[in-house]
Symmetry: C2
Subunit: 392 residues, 2 copies
Amino acid sequence: NRIMLVPLIDQEGRPVDFATQKAVGFVPAAEPVLGHNEINYVLDCVQSGWISSQGSYVSAFENGFAKYVDCPNALSVSNGTVALQLALAALGVGPGDEVIVPDLTFAASINAVIHTGATPVLVDVLQDEMTLDVAAAEEAITPATRAIMPVHLYGQMCEMGQVTELAAQHELYVIEDAAEALGSRWRGQHAGTIGDAGTFSFFGNKLITTGEGGMVVFKEPEVAARARMLRDHGMDPSQRYWHLDVGFNFRMTNLQAAIGVAQLERIDDLLSAKHQLAAKYSERLSDLSNQLILPEAAPDTDHSFWCYVVRLKVQDSEIALKLIEFMKARDIDVRPVFFPLHRMPPYSDVRRVGRLTGSSGSSDLGIVLPSSPKLTDPQIAHVCDTLRAGLD
Amino acid sequence: NRIMLVPLIDQEGRPVDFATQKAVGFVPAAEPVLGHNEINYVLDCVQSGWISSQGSYVSAFENGFAKYVDCPNALSVSNGTVALQLALAALGVGPGDEVIVPDLTFAASINAVIHTGATPVLVDVLQDEMTLDVAAAEEAITPATRAIMPVHLYGQMCEMGQVTELAAQHELYVIEDAAEALGSRWRGQHAGTIGDAGTFSFFGNKLITTGEGGMVVFKEPEVAARARMLRDHGMDPSQRYWHLDVGFNFRMTNLQAAIGVAQLERIDDLLSAKHQLAAKYSERLSDLSNQLILPEAAPDTDHSFWCYVVRLKVQDSEIALKLIEFMKARDIDVRPVFFPLHRMPPYSDVRRVGRLTGSSGSSDLGIVLPSSPKLTDPQIAHVCDTLRAGLD
Ligand SMILES: Cc1ncc(COP(=O)(O)O)c(CN[C@H]2[C@H](O)[C@H](O)[C@@H](OP(=O)(O)OP(=O)(O)OC[C@H]3O[C@@H](n4cnc5c(=O)[nH]c(N)nc54)[C@H](O)[C@@H]3O)O[C@@H]2C)c1O
Ligand SMILES: Cc1ncc(COP(=O)(O)O)c(CN[C@H]2[C@H](O)[C@H](O)[C@@H](OP(=O)(O)OP(=O)(O)OC[C@H]3O[C@@H](n4cnc5c(=O)[nH]c(N)nc54)[C@H](O)[C@@H]3O)O[C@@H]2C)c1O
């Protein structure tokens, strides 16, 4: 006799989210979609008494995720950053190894490399796609290079054919940072499942969320088994408190996983909401094509459009900054593109290859538009109108 | 019009837990106590849409915890292991620094030191208390020693007067691993609040739980501010995506914190349940005093009795192992004491000081009795009777 909520259903039979339709108001950068099953599963955890990383939702979420991305070896973790740390550690990347990282990414990508004790090397990105320039990566290879980390930024996938070819030639591990790219595909294969390991984030602004959370998938079941052991303090699964390796606590809770299971149930709707949003933005902004470069899926890929990122054609970073301020002042939470890593103090000594003009160009001229799947048509119109006004 | 549960109240006006009174059945090593406010606050998170590390329960939990332990600078994190990593990183402990760690502790203590790049040094524990032997620690000091990590094992507090004196003499940081010792005190001061930093765990078996979770408290507000920045990817709090340092993602979710707030409301009850359990065990086992050493609070301390640990008087580790098997076979989840770190492969090269006979003795002859605050009198009787039978 546990309490359960009956899901509200909309006219097409889809579960309804709690949020009521809002006036235009503040337009957030992102927000999660949570409904009755998120509540039901969380209630179930607390009422059953299983809220820690023990509990049946953890494996249910891992299995459901594995099925969705079509890769059997999925491990849930506390967030997308430790997912990268665990991937690197499980593959044995560490001190003395070089790892190639794109200069344009959220800092977690490079931080994870540094935390393993390995040496990151920065290479440029393609200015249009904002993803790893594989030719630049090739130049960066030395005898110490052990791995390459393509980052599928804002949902745009890296050219994985070139990446895997380069990796095969030089015997490098490929660790895909797919934190931002759940639902994206390269030639039908899910982001994160093409390399030796792939990682995902379920922070509150991601396609599906567990509040904080992450997942790592591995090509080889043996590596996944090692990761599982490392995730649980390096403990021997068959002898409690006997430690086989210097492990971590990177476990996801049953509560997080409960939300994750409910989110997986609605992932198709969330993805299609992103696609619709991107289509609406592209349509409404198409007349600005002499001022803006609008995002497009790279060849051979399906783009999740996790975030919709536009770029100014005029080469003037001041204008981008002013535009962001203009829109923020009008209650629209637009965001700058990440800063090139090489510009920031903690990474100033990191070896870099080439002139890194792609990452600078993408960063200086890019603007991330609000990309919540819950944006209403009036909100989308408001964002586009304000952007247009700001450009005048 | 959000859904809220009305707390069930027992005859003394205390909130009632979901679990119904059970027959003796399986006796777990530990289990959380969860009731209606745990549910209400979690419901509130999901219904408000704030489930990530953003959300008001995170600061409410930090503030409530700070008040409880009487130390203003408390930061919530994903678990007790990363709490230690964050404490070390915020204090600037890293490569080239030696950190003194007791040989008897859960491996997370030493793993955190290794992950920062610092060098752990193992010293013995006092066999009766199972806590750091401060005289041994003194012998371990070299010019490279930077910090000392007393671990308050099973709720028993280390002799903090000696620790702080030694640290002051040699200008060492004191990082208290109080993962197991919330509610314990030394001369009235809470475990974790005496050194430069103190860390706590809220795993499902801890005094209060958030599923997985942790807290770190700092003496100095400046160090806490640095930790806050490091916890959030090293990002500049005043400029988004601009990173000041190589940070982590160690954030706690609003969902975890919601449970934490509800747990803090019942912490006095949980602590008194631990005390009562310890008193009952001690009473029922008092006649075995020629075979068992029963736990006692060290001088000047209040012992939380997070776990009730007995030790065989006979110096025969085989008997302890057999006794554990005997009890497990009878559905009682007794646990061995942790293994001395120096015995396990990942730590075999770690420098150690002295003969480490205290840690070996504690580990080989100790047995951790089930310590759930929900154990019923019949269960307690069953545990004691079975222990007595096994000793025969
Ligand atoms: C390439 C790459 N690699 C690795 C990682 C690491 O993953 P992880 O963060 O460790 O899981 C990441 C993750 N990067 C994220 C990080 O998760 C980071 O924390 C986040 O930074 P942010 O942009 O500063 O995040 P924010 O402004 O705090 O939140 C973004 C929006 O989402 C909304 N939001 C977040 N949580 C919630 C919530 O619980 N409820 C509601 N309603 N809104 C929420 C906020 O209000 C904002 O509008 O966004 C970055 C892009 C990555 O992008
Ligand atoms: C000195 C010291 N320093 C640092 C740390 C690191 O903290 P953290 O684990 O990173 O938060 C720790 C934490 N050590 C813990 C770790 O948290 C570790 O994971 C845990 O190991 P374990 O003994 O193997 O844990 P277990 O057998 O999985 O769970 C213990 C009991 O609690 C019950 N339990 C756990 N979660 C739940 C739950 O959600 N519901 C119920 N009903 N029972 C639960 C289990 O059923 C068991 O009976 O216990 C160790 C003593 C520490 O002791």
